[in-house]
């Protein structure tokens, strides 16, 4: 009874920090992305078992690699917007609109590279407009961006009267060789898209901008009190989506040498779904670029995979939905939300 007042530390050994292994740290920091990767591996395994002849040969992968770059350019910036706590549904129209600028410049006989610059500038301006509506005017991003999507698409339809633009000038141009040819049978766009994803990953994880995007999405009041310009960070995420959409628009126009007034329309739901399948949660503050990229790969594969596996096209929607729900359940179990 006499020594009961002596400090606990003197009797018990202090808790030692467990030895830090690099692998452990990597797994901890990339839980969501690794989960998405597991989903992808399981999915491919099922496809291979169902239809080995198709999935053991290159053409199926080649077809995915043509559509994937467009999706990657959209998904990587969308992760920023979702992480900052907003949503952007206007990117399909921004994609169509920027690609339209590209098509007009090329059609006028100017350099395709000038067209790309024009498209990127247009995309960023449109992104800034959307951002201003959401942040400065204070509208709900869900509704405001949906409205912008309809409005911009409607504007395109009114002006072009629904007519497409054929860009035969692009054939054999330097720009086409650089941006939409094949090297050793692999579509070259995929390398550009991967470079863009790596850039986005660096920006998200190792740049002041990404750190502030996460902080603002986590707790905008705290970020503001610590001197972060919350409105600016939010608007810049929309500008980045505009940039990605413009890039996606250029790629999709380059592949077909044609611009359609509907360019981008089909990407709305697949791109949004890829973000969440990839493991970026809806509540903001955390996100994963790598997961989003793998999510885009999963979503692109479902379509061609299901048909190639011998099921009729009617199954595509069902399996699309099934994969989304199963991934979300998986992430719910894999990730913990801190409050």
């Amino acid at each position: 009874m006499s020594a009961s007042l002596e400090p606990i530390e003197a009797r018990a050994k202090p808790v030692e920090r467990p030895p830090e292994s690099a692998l452990r740290r990597f797994v901890d920091q990339n839980r969501a992305a690794l989960g998405t990767l597991a989903v992808f591996v399981v999915m491919i395994a099922i496809f291979m078992a169902a239809s080995p002849t198709v999935f053991m040969h290159w053409p199926i992968y080649d077809s995915v690699l043509v559509t994937l770059p467009v999706a990657l350019c959209l998904v990587a910036p969308l992760v920023f917007v979702v992480t900052v706590g907003e949503i952007d549904l206007s990117f399909p129209a921004t994609m169509g609109f920027s690609a339209w600028m590209f098509a007009l410049v090329v059609h006028a006989g100017l350099s395709p590279f000038l067209g790309i610059v024009a498209a990127l500038a247009m995309g960023m301006v449109l992104g800034a407009c959307v951002g201003a509506l959401v942040v400065t005017a204070g509208l709900s991003s869900l509704i405001a961006t949906l409205g912008m999507n309809f409005m911009l698409r409607g504007f395109i339809m009114i002006v072009t009267q629904g007519k497409s633009i054929a860009l035969l000038e692009l054939q054999d141009s330097t720009a086409a060789t650089l941006l939409s040819s094949e090297v050793y049978g692999v579509p070259v766009q995929i390398f550009w898209a991967l470079a863009f994803v790596v850039f986005a990953w660096l920006l998200f994880n190792h740049h002041t901008f990404g750190a502030r995007v996460r902080a603002v999405g986590d707790n905008p009041d705290s970020a503001g009190q610590m001197g972060v310009n919350v409105a600016r960070v939010r608007i810049l995420t929309f500008v980045f989506v505009g940039l990605g959409a413009a890039l996606a628009g250029v790629f999709s126009t380059m592949v077909n040498y044609t611009w359609w007034p509907t360019t981008g329309d089909g990407y709305l739901l697949p791109a949004i779904a890829s973000v969440f399948v990839g493991g970026t949660p809806t509540w903001g503050g955390v996100g994963t670029i790598a997961g989003g990229a793998i999510g885009a790969l999963i979503v692109s594969f479902i379509q061609s995979g299901i048909v190639a596996a011998g099921l009729s096209g009617f199954y595509v929607q069902f399996f699309n939905g099934l994969i989304i729900i199963l991934s979300l359940l998986g992430h719910r179990w894999n990730q913990k939300r801190f409050r």
Binding site: V15, R212, S222, G224
Partner: protein, 265 residues
């Protein structure tokens, strides 16, 4: 006393027609610990949020080292050497300890890319300085995993990182244990010993009396008293003063529950 670090001249903040702070003159000199007291709703938090640049005053001037600051905001406040430990700690709980310590003040190269290794080492050192007892946490630990006292430690680490001239602490000991409270006091003494100033807001008058050298008592949006420790004399006299402030005619025990005087709320 040393140089006049920061001065608020006739500062007011109103929400519509309600004045949270109405015409306050207030200053902090270099190297002093000022205790800011007052009942709930006296305007203490509004005052320090204006100091931190988190909210804009409706009228009045802010002077830093004698120079007027017309475009005052949170970033300017931190650049001027004022670090604030907010009542809610202003942490991003899904981010790492390192990210929270460097929130709004990232250590980056000229292209804006983070200097991760340096930030991590610095965070580790700061946590040790503050006295993070639990060794199971690393600079990469998510703040949401930490206890209340440890979270306060992260907020304090952030405040001392930049060698600020004035550290403002809004009720830093609320909801902390006795040992954690002692840690906060040790922190204030260390900061004071380094020749820096502290503005300490608290409800526990004994705590504030112990730690501060000068007292500012606020009442319903105005400054009711500014006095040094010698002038006040003892914590009991300060408590008596504040009780008189709250109930000028003394507290009457109502005879029956139906008869409740308005002052006793």
């Amino acid at each position: 006393m040393g140089e006049r670090l920061i001065e608020l001249k006739n500062i007011a903040k109103s929400y519509g027609r309600v004045f949270a702070v109405g015409g306050v003159n207030f200053h902090v000199d270099r190297g002093e610990v000022v205790g800011l007291l007052g009942d709930n709703g006296a305007g203490k938090s509004t005052l320090i949020k204006m100091l931190a640049g988190a909210i804009q005053p409706t009228s009045g001037d802010i002077l830093v080292r004698g120079k007027p600051e017309p475009h005052w905001n949170a970033a300017r406040s931190r650049d001027a050497g004022i670090e604030t430990v907010f009542q809610d700690r202003a942490l991003c709980v899904q981010q790492t300890i390192t990210r929270n310590i460097f929130l709004g003040r990232e250590s980056a190269n000229w292209l804006g890319f983070l200097n991760g290794r340096r930030e991590r080492a610095e965070a580790e050192r700061l946590m040790r300085d503050i006295g993070f007892t639990s060794k199971v946490f690393t600079p990469d630990s998510i703040v949401g995993q930490l206890s209340g006292g440890e979270r306060q430690g992260v907020a304090l680490a952030r405040a001392i990182y930049n060698k600020a001239d004035l550290i403002v602490m809004d009720e830093p000991t609320t909801a902390l244990s006795l040992t954690e409270t002692e840690k906060v006091f040790r922190f204030v003494r260390t900061v004071r010993a380094g020749g820096r100033s502290v503005l300490f807001i608290g409800h526990n008058i004994h705590h504030v009396f112990d730690i501060a050298e000068r007292f500012v008592v606020m009442d319903r949006g105005t400054v009711a008293l500014q006095a040094t420790k010698e002038e006040v004399g003892s914590a009991e006299r300060l408590i008596a003063y504040m009780e008189r402030l709250a109930h000028p005619q003394g507290v009457e025990i109502p005879a029956s529950p139906g008869h409740r005087p308005e002052a006793a709320s």
